[in-house]
């Protein structure tokens, strides 16, 4: 049970030791990292630092083994196979990579996204759409930030690609990804899921989910910065051409022509962030130890409390569903600019984000033209911190 172990869990995170007063509520932007992850990165650099894949001296073999074991560890965590995981630097690179991979299939096609998307799941598609003369359709959401399924069915029909976020980083809505994926597959569409906010919080089984591609960031789930994943269906990965090229992803290069390496290496040009990848493997081990099911149910409680406490405040409006939300809340407070809210909370050691959270169209959809203040929690937060947040907001209103 996380609640009982919280003191011990928090003591695994050096930042809370360094800054005991810190109430960190910006985990949707980037999470904190436990000691085992930080130490692992140091271990790589201090014990067997050398480049992966090509060297045959002992250190090079050791680092290659650690790198590939980490890929296996992450695959197990995600319910996928290791050779379906491409290491990228973040979700954004993963989404650009898949968009460029699919470019040859998109000529005059239809790309369907939703109103909930992060800029990283909008802009790459706009780019390839303009290169391929494809159409972009946007599925509407209702007043609670939930997918309008009638509109979804209309829009997905005839789509070449469906790409949508698994959990919205603003509204906190969790989409029924399995249902949407199978509807899209029935239409013959390739399915892409932006899992940046889901992978840190949900127990995933990508094979069961059935999406062709799934993108995520290590830094949002306890891992080092500069490491992400693009999961891809093996058959598609084998068929598609690598849009980004260089060393390590080829087996042969001659004056004329070249041969790609096997999947997934064919999509990993250049020296990878091997220390980051190995650290990310440690992060998933840590999450497994806590248990993703426990995390899910504990965070449900946090999400509920967050909404209940904050909606008691006069003049507060929020985006998203009133029930079943992720442990985050994007809100505005009448008479206070979101920046001022964040700056005031900072004086109380509470770290929350203000702005558009890279999802401006969604804010505009809900009339939040100044953006919002967003508190986003993770399993290392607790109910007391939510109370402190509510208390400080009331303080601000009284100021």
């Amino acid at each position: 049970m996380i609640e009982e172990d919280l003191d011990s869990i928090r003591s695994d995170f050096p930042i809370f030791e360094f800054n005991p007063k810190l109430i960190y509520m910006d985990s949707a932007a980037t999470s904190q990292r436990p000691k085992n992850v930080i130490d692992k990165v140091t271990e790589v650099y201090s014990h067997y630092n050398s480049n992966v894949h090509r060297g045959i001296y002992s250190m090079a073999e050791k680092v290659t083994e650690e790198y590939e074991n980490s890929r296996k560890e992450i695959a197990k965590f995600l319910g996928a196979n290791a050779d379906e995981l491409i290491f990228t630097k973040n979700t954004t690179e993963s989404l650009n990579l898949v968009a460029y991979m699919l470019l040859p299939k998109l000529k005059n096609g239809v790309i369907t996204i939703t109103e909930l998307e992060h800029h990283s799941n909008i802009l790459p598609w706009r780019e390839v759409a303009s290169l391929a003369n494809a159409e972009i359709r946007t599925v509407a959401v209702d007043r609670e930030g939930k997918i309008d399924y009638a509109d979804f069915e209309k829009k997905v029909s005839g789509s070449s690609v469906l790409s949508f976020t698994h959990i919205s980083n603003v509204a906190g809505t969790t989409l029924d990804a399995k249902k949407m994926v199978s509807a899209a597959k029935a239409e013959g569409a390739i399915t892409v899921v932006d899992g940046a906010q889901a992978a840190p919080h949900l127990k995933l089984n990508l094979h069961d989910l059935g999406a062709d591609f799934y993108a995520l960031s290590g830094h949002k789930m306890l891992g080092p910065t500069g490491i992400g994943i693009l999961y891809g269906n093996k058959r598609l990965l084998e068929d598609l051409e690598p849009p980004f090229r260089g060393g390590e992803m080829v087996t042969e290069v001659h004056a004329e022509g070249q041969e790609w390496n096997d999947v997934p290496l064919k999509f990993e040009p250049g020296t990878p962030n091997f220390a980051g990848a190995i650290g990310f493997g440690e992060a998933t081990k840590y999450l497994e130890k806590i248990g993703m099911n426990d995390i899910e149910s504990y965070e449900k409680k946090l999400g509920k409390a967050l909404m209940e406490e904050l909606t008691k405040i006069d003049g507060l409006e929020y985006i998203g569903p009133s029930e079943g939300r992720a442990a985050l809340l994007s809100f505005k407070l009448k008479g206070y600019h979101p920046h001022d809210i964040a700056a005031f909370l900072d004086t109380r050691s509470i770290a929350i984000r203000s702005g558009f959270h890279c999802a401006q169209p969604l804010h505009e959809r809900f009339g939040f033209f100044d953006g919002s203040a967003r508190a986003s929690l993770y399993f290392y937060n607790n109910l007391d911190e939510i109370e402190s947040l509510a208390y400080s907001l009331k303080e601000l209103v009284r100021l």
């Binding site: 600019h337 700056a343 005031f344 203000s354 702005g355 100044d370 100021l399």
Partner: protein
């Protein structure tokens, strides 16, 4: 110290000076800080190289509103050349802020930039018209 507890800032935020439209302005310029939605529009009335009157309208966080208000006070009645010299750090000093992180400097920079553009626009208009005041 956070700007929340600097009286000067909170006073300017809650009671902004020169928050008005000038109908017979010599120059009007508006700009925005799209990453946070802040907007400001500055009106100046010039007489013999001096900013005889100034007004602003805007919308944004306390810091951006207070700095717009203070800036109008600082330059009202001064020569345009002097007004052009004012930097973000002058404004910070006047506001009573010691330090400001890179993500917040933008909130102050907006009014400084906008005033500059209003003056430059005025000067180039006058020049194009073929002579000084």
């Amino acid at each position: 110290m956070s700007y929340f507890f600097i009286e000067n800032i909170m006073d300017h935020y809650k009671n902004p000076r020169n928050m008005k439209i000038i109908n017979e302005a010599s120059s009007v310029f508006g700009d925005s800080n799209p990453t946070c939605g802040d907007t400001v529009k500055i009106f100046i009335k010039v007489n013999e190289n001096k900013i005889e009157d100034i007004g602003f309208q805007g919308h944004g966080c306390a810091l951006s509103m207070a700095s717009s208000s203070l800036l109008t006070e600082m330059v009202k009645g001064s020569e345009m050349q002097d007004a052009l010299k004012i930097t973000e750090s002058d404004l910070m000093r006047e506001l009573g802020i010691k330090e400001l992180g890179p993500n917040r400097i933008k909130c102050i920079a907006l009014s400084v930039k906008t005033l500059k553009m209003a003056i430059i626009q005025y000067l180039s208009k006058v020049n194009h018209a073929g002579g000084g005041t």
